[in-house]
Chain length 810, copies 2
């Protein structure tokens, strides 16, 4: 059964001319790859290679390059013959030399970078700049034309490929996966993406497992299991494996080309059949898409051995074979004959060094060159979202605290409207938590994507669903990144604690965005939008493992130009915030919002004004008489801290009616930094006006308290800022017990005020003690009744209380 | 072929008595699971269930529990019959009710927690405490006897299981994997762990895929692919799948028990055969270990449907079927009949409510109970490492800067000695970077673990290797955690940037340690030791994607009791630091150290003194005359910043010989915090003595600069602390260009001194400009020559220079 599923073809589909051309193109790409790694000068070897032609520091990766060059050449033949619209993803992105060579051969490089022409001088510049100070990175970086995938951190090739293919029915994404990369967790699960791809409305992903046997210093697992096992694995992942093996034991490359071309034709025919059948039958089924297992030697065509040590087809070819070429004449000679083995004189014009016309005929035209395909510069294809007015989803707030809503549910209603208005370029991603995060309305639009089996009792699964759920934060992130990088829009909703699973992926995406800012030809892409819910303060079903607000801390380490963090305190501010996020470009927007019913504070107009300021005094909550000078500032950021702050203000009004309290609410966390640190930073004068230069500030913050210090340490009044937040205390308990455990509760905030405002402590020892007693009483209540005391959970803001508003018991 | 590999058995191995007992035990565990989720009182249903018996907040997860209870009961039968030494890992750890029930049934719970007896009162307490304020978490938390795996964050069940099995030849680890969990990346790759397990010298891992069909709100991928595909997947992962399906369509549980018992016997026989064959033949081979695919309904034995909606065997059984049981009499009735369906009167004594003796006979004895197995409280089995004297690995440092060494290579020599001295309880883990990080000596001891195929040219692979490399940071972390939690020792070496991949896993482990601190019966375990090398400043082959020093920032958010961060500036301090780490317990130690050749500063005696202080003045580098008052403090933390700082001091000595400079080096980053924030925190008086209360401090730091502010914002002199560090600027370039890009270079430090020390600026505009010119010149040199200027790369500290020491060109 396995045997039958794996097909191997033996025809000879290439005519002599094409065969010669494919081979020449491959040799050219190999030549240029080696040249980039080693040479400063003498690019066409017009004179014997000498020390001064060699780079002093040899940095880069040879091993993966020849295999990738081979694939690229063959894909080019197919693109031309079949008029394919294809992009290429280099999982082992350390094979930078390969992709840079390809784009130079295709002419794209010289079109984009005028300093690197398509002639001999250009080749010299191309060689010199690689991994060279002031030059280009060693990886398939944002600087590399045709790339949406840097590959520096391995594991995301397939997720990115699928993300690119969703809603791009005309596109084929060739995804080369390193056999080392295949050992990573994210890659290992991303094979299952094929259960989420529609054969008519989505594009094609062609995974090519680059089975070159080795990673840095070891063989790979997949290369050292029997072929039958690897085939079973691929079948188990839902693919039809096509096995290819070539280039070993000095096999004639011409034979290898013929065999691979035949196999590729068969694979592409198979893909055509799948797509056509699905189209004609109207039934997407769940196709067993082809995967190519491409077994070739690592460092193929490179030195067989050096100093008695085997190099080709071993891990030793991973980076740079022969370390000190400049200082070792024998190595210089070896390098020269290695490069001459590609017969450059057959590849490049004698006079100007340009790629010979007959070889260049393997380059597809214009945007069909993989290095120039517009999908790989997604911003060029981006259409603005059609954004229905979020105001029509506003929660009615007659007076602050007078209505109760679940913010994410309200947001979900509007996101659903957006989804309807943008049926082919907006998706929502989540690891099985979209319903739990109460975005159900988005599921109602077109269901959740699912092409695997279904049962009658299933809920809202659909092959054309637009909410994508798989229990893998890596997949959600990777899919979304691929979707954004090819110019579409989306949202990743996730439990706040578990978004740390993709910390490293966020890093890479933020770095990508940072670099693209300085690359004029890269057109801005839609922002990466997070919605973090089920946050630290409301982990009712779970507990300590689910409590971690540190993603914000992680995010703010990245370049200020690129990152934004929002903590809307209620539903209307959440709507207004998200409206902003969905219209933005090239940012990472992190929005944290609870899903539980909570009091609503601002009317939509107030919310819009508050969000555009990003920070502001809530005059209706303050008692400093508008422009008066306060005795204390109570600041808050985050929905739960806002409730506790306002409840503390309520207590202060009752017990210390004389005290002038100012309430400042922060939606846009980056306002806290100064304008030199972050584009959103508040000028010092404005900060001082809000927080005063010298009054105590009691700051109730959603996350780890020290972040507020890190953001404000340069501010005039920093020494008076006293922050409460999550300090890593928690378990499965009631919401109020959680804030008490971390001393963020209303009673503690009142105690903080008493402790900080000069003169209060001595006169209010009694009140302070009563607050402490209230804490004990509240805790005791939870122990006896298993829930929060009604005076806590049913607390409403005074103005609403006067209207007789009651909060439903939790 | 697939068909043959999958075996299904039909014999009836259970005699009537055992069958009855297994079923009774299962029913008891189910009863207790439901009771924990719902009941406050009336545990044995001695009176009709009433509202006040029900918890006001129903929090927990039912769906996974009955399947896990079933497995636990059957494993108990096998443990007794076969005298197995077994632990149980609950991948879906949200099934807390299941594991808590099991340990209560086994008596362990009451032995450990005197407040929860083994009688009716105890059962009442057991029910009440679950997911209740002041009670226990809803998950298989550290509080749960028998657990080394909380399972709150899904994905690590198998890695933990393998970690526990390594070097524990007598142990069997039953690892239950959620079919939702199986979609995560870490889990998807962890199946390949079987290529790293030795059938004689390691224990057994028995993976059980809990194919209950659903996750939170969706079906699972593995449940919705054809059986043939799932079997191929398991074969592809290198396993022999055993398929079990039962409990559907009201199948009689007795039949299900018989069939499963037969299957389990077959599986355990197969395991015996594998182990015996390997032992007798002396050839480990690479066994195709059994995996059980356990297909049963989610929420099995629970309500079939409620209000017309199907519950059993749907995703709706995931958490708590029937929300408001307290407020809804019909639901109360439903709950009562559900609980009575387990026939509690047959399970618990009429009088005292204890488990009936005939049922209790399914409990193994003492430490063979999975809930009491000492391996699951690993500290009880920990043997101190035999630690050869690190002093004998010291680098000779005749005068500061006079020798050059690669710190991690030196450390590797000593780690190799430790490995030799502790051949069965110390391992090193890394994602294919151990050689790259220059710990090669550890590989020489016994090779790298590898049971897959080998080839003649392979380097140091061995089935009994003790360095474990797979290209998955998740696997390395998970294996090591499992190894530590069962009481052994280890080190995880990783590229600094990519350790972010396991940010979330680190979180969970740190949380686990924090909680165990307050659990008296949990004996401390060896610390989790990181060695982060190939760090941000030396990413020569790679570049921007490989530059991220933020793991430190991430780590310091966790409880101060648990985390330690060290930045040894040279090889001797690295040795001394690691000696401390390897002897410690219950910490996470993060050590960052470069691998490149660099100047060595301290003799071993000095290094030991410096490391025990964790921070100190380097008098030999300072010019403030020992006890004199300095004009400026140059502080540094990290190897590269230390070099730049000392080079800046050299420049200052030449150009501003009058200036009194104090050099402070920080090894233990936590010394910067105050004593109330961290146990290592320096008292304010000591801090002020080192950093002065009022002089400018120019601080060269390895990582993101703001971390230093976050750690020191309470210090007297904080406003004068000026930090240089990595500010997210970088690419593939020379080492010195990297520090220049981030303004951490020697010239910039001198400029900072001029800018900060009162009075210098006006008088030294010329020097300042020269420094700026030097930066340009240094940059220009790299552009022209592709490497750093010799005066930079060959710089040596004056004292060494006088001795005529020369540094080899890079
Ligand atoms: C997540 C991650 N861990 C570690 C590395 C370090 N690294 C760079 S290349 C490499 C080996 C890659 O092997 P493979 O995927 O087989 O690529 P190829 O053989 O084609 O070079 C490793 C481990 C990395 N880039 N990413
Ligand atoms: C990494 C991670 N992402 C998301 C969650 C949220 N979550 C909790 S339980 C669950 C479903 C688990 O399904 P499965 O593994 O099949 O367990 P079972 O069906 O046995 O409950 C999810 C997604 C989690 N715990 N961990
Ligand atoms: Mg490889
Ligand atoms: Mg499940």
């Amino acid at each position: 059964m396995l045997g039958k599923a794996t097909r191997e073809s033996r025809a000879e589909p290439l005519d002599d001319e094409t065969l010669t051309r494919v081979d020449a193109w491959w040799r050219a790409a190999n030549y240029l790859s080696v040249g980039q790694i080693y040479l400063l000068d003498n690019p066409l070897l017009r004179e014997p290679l000498k020390a001064e032609h060699i780079k002093p520091r040899l940095l880069g990766h040879w091993g993966t390059s020849p295999g990738q060059n081979f694939l690229y050449a063959h894909l080019n033949r197919a693109i031309i013959e079949r008029e394919l619209d294809m992009i290429y993803i280099a999982g082992p992105g350390h094979g930078g030399p390969s992709l840079v060579s390809a784009s130079w051969l295709e002419g794209t490089y010289s079109e984009i970078y005028s300093g690197v022409g398509d002639d001999e001088d250009g080749m010299r510049a191309l060689f010199r700049q690689f991994s060279y100070p002031g030059g280009i990175p060693s990886h398939v970086a944002p600087e590399t034309p045709g790339s949406i995938h840097e590959g520096g951190e391995l594991g995301y090739a397939l997720s990115h490929a699928y993300g690119a293919a969703f809603d791009n029915p005309g596109l084929t994404v060739a995804a080369v996966i390193g056999d080392g990369e295949a050992e990573t967790g994210p890659l290992a699960t991303s094979w299952h993406s094929n259960k989420f791809l529609h054969p008519v409305t989505d594009g094609t992903v062609l995974p090519i497992l680059h089975l070159n046997g080795y990673k840095i210093a070891n063989p790979t697992v997949l290369a050292r299991i029997p072929r039958s096992e690897l085939e079973a694995l691929m079948i188990g992942y839902g693919h039809t494996p096509y096995w290819f093996e070539g280039g070993f034991d000095g096999e004639d490359p011409m034979a290898v080309h013929q065999r691979f071309a035949a196999l590729l034709d068969e694979v592409l025919d198979h893909i055509d059949t799948i797509r056509r059948d699905a189209h004609e039958s109207g039934d997407p089924g769940r196709p067993a898409w082809p995967v190519i297992v491409f077994k070739t030697p690592k460092g193929w065509t490179g030195p067989r051995e050096i100093d008695g040590q085997p190099i080709e087809d071993t891990f030793r070819s991973h980076q740079v074979p022969m370390a000190d070429v400049r200082g070792n004449e024998r190595y210089t000679g070896l390098l020269e004959s290695w490069m001459r083995s590609y017969r450059p004189e057959e590849l490049f014009n004698d006079d100007d060094g340009r790629l010979r016309a007959e070889v260049a005929r393997l380059n597809p035209h214009g945007g069909r060159r993989m290095s120039a395909n517009p999908h790989a510069n997604g911003g060029t294809l981006t259409r603005d979202l059609v954004v229905p007015d979020f105001r029509s989803h506003a929660v009615d707030v007659p007076t602050p605290g007078a209505s109760v809503a679940e913010p994410t549910r309200v947001l979900g209603g509007w996101l659903a409207a957006i989804m309807r208005a943008n049926p082919t370029n907006f998706r929502i991603f989540g690891p099985d938590e979209t319903a739990s995060n109460r975005l159900n309305a988005t599921v109602d639009v077109a269901g959740k994507t699912w092409l695997a089996e279904t049962l009658p009792d299933d809920d809202a699964l659909s092959p054309t669903g637009r909410v994508m759920e798989m229990l893998s934060e890596h997949q959600c992130q990777g899919w979304l990144e691929g979707y954004l990088l090819t110019g579409r829009h989306g949202v990743f909703n996730c439990y706040e604690a578990f978004v740390h699973i993709i910390d490293a992926m966020f890093n890479q995406h933020a770095k990508w965005l940072k670099v693209t800012r300085d690359i004029p030809w890269r057109v801005p892409i839609p922002s990466l939008n997070y919605l973090l819910s089920s946050h630290v303060w409301r982990q009712d079903h779970n507990g300590f493992t689910h409590q971690d607000p540190g993603f914000i801390d992680h995010v703010v380490n990245k370049k200020a130009d690129v990152i934004r963090v929002y903590l809307p305190p209620d539903a209307n501010t959440l709507l207004s915030t998200y409206d902003h996020c969905l219209r933005s470009r090239d940012y990472v927007n992190v929005v944290v919002s609870g899903k539980q019913p909570g009091p609503q504070w601002l009317t939509m107009d107030e919310a819009i004004a508050h969000c555009s300021r990003g920070i502001g005094i809530w005059e209706w909550a303050s008692t400093d008489g508008g422009d008066g000078e306060p005795d204390v500032v109570l600041a808050c950021a985050g929905d739960v801290p806002t409730v506790e702050t306002l409840a503390a203000v309520d207590l202060l009004r009752q017990h210390l009616p004389e005290l002038r309290v100012r309430v400042v609410n922060v939606v846009d966390l980056m306002r806290l930094q100064d304008e030199h640190e972050h584009p959103h930073g508040l000028p010092n004068a404005e900060f001082d006006a809000l927080f005063t230069p010298d009054k105590p500030v009691v700051f109730a913050y959603h996350g780890y308290p020290w972040l507020i210090h890190r953001l404000t340490y340069r501010r005039t009044n920093h020494r008076n800022i006293h922050v409460r937040g999550y300090k890593e205390e928690g378990t499965t308990t009631t919401p109020f017990d959680m804030v008490m455990l971390n001393e963020l509760d209303r009673f503690h905030l009142v105690m903080d005020v008493i402790d900080r405002v000069p003169g209060l402590r001595a006169r209010n020892a009694g009140l302070r003690q009563r607050m402490s007693d209230e804490r004990l009483r509240a805790r005791q209540y939870t122990r006896e009744h298993g829930k929060d005391a009604p005076e806590i959970s049913e607390w409403v803001w005074p103005a609403a209380r006067e209207l007789g508003v009651a909060v439903p018991a939790a």
